[in-house]
C-alpha cells in the first residue's frame, strides 16, 4: 500500500493567503457569486475556471470573493 501523501505546506499556506487576500467564501453575497462574475469562464456550469489575475484556478459557481465583477462589458 502506498504511503499517505504529505500535506504540501507551501501550497496550503498559499491557499490560506489567497482566501484571506480575496475574502473568498463558499456562499453568494447579496445575490452575487462566481457563477455570475465576469471572470467565470463557463457561465452555466456548476464549476469552472476563474481567470482573475489573483486566482487562475477552479472555483464553484456558488462561491464569491471581493473581486467579483459584473458580466456586462463596456
Amino acid at each position: 500500500m502506498a504511503d499517505e501523501p504529505n500535506v504540501d505546506e507551501v501550497a496550503y499556506r498559499a491557499t490560506q493567503k489567497l482566501i484571506r487576500l480575496t475574502a473568498l467564501r463558499g456562499t453568494p453575497v447579496e445575490g452575487d457569486s462566481c457563477g455570475n462574475c465576469y471572470y467565470y469562464l463557463e457561465p452555466g456550469e456548476p464549476m469552472s475556471f476563474c481567470w482573475h489575475e489573483k486566482f487562475q484556478l477552479l472555483v464553484s459557481s456558488t462561491w464569491w470573493c471581493q473581486h467579483w465583477e459584473v458580466t456586462t462589458d463596456d
Partner: protein, 418 residues
C-alpha cells in the same frame, strides 16, 4: 468573556497622536484587543485578526455608522444639516438589502477594466505636473502632485468641471473635519453650511446630466437608471456621487504623500525602486500597509457579541483600527520596518475587506503606481527636505499630510540654486 477595559488617556484626536499614532497604537494593541473610549463612546479594536472578522461578519455588524460624525454636531450645525443635506446610507455605510444594488450599480459603470483604460490620460496628466516642478530647487509635493492628481482623476471621472477642482478639494477637506474631527460650535456651523453647499452642488450636477449626458460616470449611472429604474433612482445617484466626490481622491492624495515620506525617509528603499521599478507594485502595497491613508473605520453591533474575549453590547459602536492592524506582529514580521519587497504586504486592510471592499481600489493603486514610476524615472535623485515640520489633518479617520517639502533634483542641487 470579560468586561471591557477603558482606554484611559487615549484620544485619537490628541495632536501628538495625530502626528504619529503608531507608538500609541502599538502600546494599546500590546495591552489588549479591545478598549472602550469613554469620551467618544466607541470601542477600539486593535488586532488584525479581530478586525478582519468584524469586516467579514455582516450578521453581527452593521456599516450604518461608517460615515456618521464621530462627535455629534452641535444643535446649530445639526439644524443647518437637517435643512439642506439629505444623505442616506448608500455605499460604504449601507447594509443589505440596499447595499447590494447600490454597489452593483457602481461596479457596472466603474469596472477595474474601465479604470485601467484611463491609464494613458492619467499618466500624461501626472507627468505634466511633475515636469512642471522637477527643475525647481524645492517644492511642496502635496500641493503640486499628491493633491491635484487624484482630484483630477476623481472629478474627471464624475464629470465635475476642471475649474471647480480647488473648490471641491477645499470642501472635501472641511467635510472630513466635521465627520471625523473635533471642532468648535462656530466651526461646525461654518462647515455644515459647506456640506449643504456641496450636497446642492452634487444635486445640481446630477440634474444637469439628467438633461444632457456626457462621457462620465454620473451619466453612466443615469443611463443605468433609465435601463433599470428598479435598481437606482436620481436620489441614489446623488448619494453615490456625493460619496465618491470625497472617497475618490482624499485617500489617494494621502497615500501618495505618506508613501513618498516613507520612501524618502528610508532612502535605501527609494533607491531600490529606482534601480528596479518592477518592485513598484509591491511598494504600493507596503505603503498602504506601513502608513496607509485610513487610520480607523467603524461598525456598530447589531446584536450583543464578543471580540477578542471582550463583550460588546448590541448597539456598541466600534472603531476598527486599521493602522494598528497594519503593525500587528502576529500578522506581519517586523511590522515597524518599511520594506518594499515585503512578501505579505498585500494582506493589509487599507481598502477594507469583504463586501465593502473599496470600489476605488484599482484606481487608487493605479494612481500611486503611476506617480512612483514617473518620479523614480524623472527625478531619481529626489530627496526629502530635512528638518521640516509635518502637520496632519486633525481627524480620526484619514491620515494625510498638509505639506511635504522635497528637492526634486536632490539637496545638493537645491542648495547650489538656492
Amino acid at each position: 468573556m470579560t468586561g471591557c477595559p477603558v482606554a484611559h488617556g487615549y484620544d485619537p484626536l490628541e495632536p501628538g497622536t495625530v502626528l504619529d499614532p503608531y507608538p500609541v497604537f502599538n502600546a494599546l494593541r500590546e495591552a489588549g484587543p479591545v478598549f472602550y473610549m469613554e469620551d467618544l463612546d466607541h470601542y477600539i479594536i486593535t488586532r488584525f485578526e479581530d478586525i478582519e472578522k468584524v469586516l467579514l461578519d455582516r450578521e453581527t455588524w452593521s456599516a450604518s455608522n461608517a460615515s456618521s460624525p464621530l462627535i455629534a454636531p452641535c444643535a446649530a450645525a445639526q439644524a443647518v444639516l437637517s435643512a439642506g443635506y439629505h444623505r442616506v446610507p448608500t455605499l460604504n455605510n449601507a447594509d443589505p438589502p440596499r447595499h447590494g444594488p447600490m454597489r452593483k450599480s457602481v461596479l457596472t459603470t466603474m469596472t477595474p477594466r474601465r479604470l485601467n483604460a484611463l491609464e494613458p490620460e492619467l499618466r500624461a496628466y501626472a507627468e505634466n505636473l511633475i515636469r512642471g516642478f522637477m527643475d525647481e530647487p524645492t517644492v511642496d509635493v502635496v500641493d503640486r502632485l499628491a493633491f491635484p492628481f487624484p482630484g483630477f482623476a476623481a472629478f474627471t471621472l464624475l464629470g465635475f468641471p476642471p475649474e471647480d477642482t480647488d473648490l471641491l478639494k477645499d470642501w472635501s477637506a472641511k467635510r472630513v473635519l466635521l465627520t471625523y474631527g473635533r471642532l468648535s460650535d462656530e466651526e461646525q456651523v461654518e462647515i455644515a453650511e459647506i456640506i449643504v453647499a456641496f450636497w446642492k452642488y452634487v444635486e445640481d450636477h446630477v440634474a444637469a446630466r439628467r438633461l444632457v449626458r456626457a462621457n462620465d460616470l454620473t451619466s453612466d449611472l443615469l443611463d443605468l437608471s433609465d435601463k433599470s429604474p428598479h435598481m437606482l433612482n436620481d436620489f441614489d445617484i446623488v448619494n453615490m456621487v456625493y460619496s465618491m466626490a470625497l472617497a475618490g481622491h482624499e485617500t489617494t492624495c494621502n497615500t501618495i504623500g505618506n508613501g513618498l515620506r516613507a520612501l524618502l525617509e528610508n532612502r535605501d528603499q527609494w533607491e531600490r525602486l529606482v534601480a528596479d521599478p518592477s518592485l513598484i507594485p509591491n511598494a504600493v502595497e507596503e505603503i498602504l500597509r506601513y502608513d496607509g491613508p485610513v487610520l480607523n473605520h467603524r461598525r456598530i453591533a447589531k446584536v450583543a457579541t464578543t471580540v477578542g474575549g471582550v463583550d460588546i453590547p448590541a448597539g456598541g459602536k466600534v472603531m476598527l483600527c486599521f493602522a494598528s492592524a497594519a503593525r500587528d506582529p502576529d500578522q506581519f514580521d517586523s511590522p515597524d520596518l518599511f520594506d518594499v519587497s515585503r512578501e505579505d504586504a498585500e494582506l493589509h486592510m487599507a481598502f477594507g475587506k469583504g463586501p465593502h471592499f473599496c470600489l476605488g481600489a484599482p484606481l487608487g493603486r493605479l494612481e500611486v503606481r503611476i506617480v512612483l514610476e514617473l518620479l523614480t524615472s524623472l527625478t531619481p535623485a529626489l530627496e526629502i527636505v530635512p528638518n521640516q515640520t509635518f502637520e496632519y489633518s486633525p481627524n480620526a479617520l484619514f491620515r494625510g499630510m498638509k505639506a511635504l517639502m522635497i528637492a526634486p533634483r536632490g539637496l545638493a542641487v537645491a542648495s547650489s540654486r538656492g
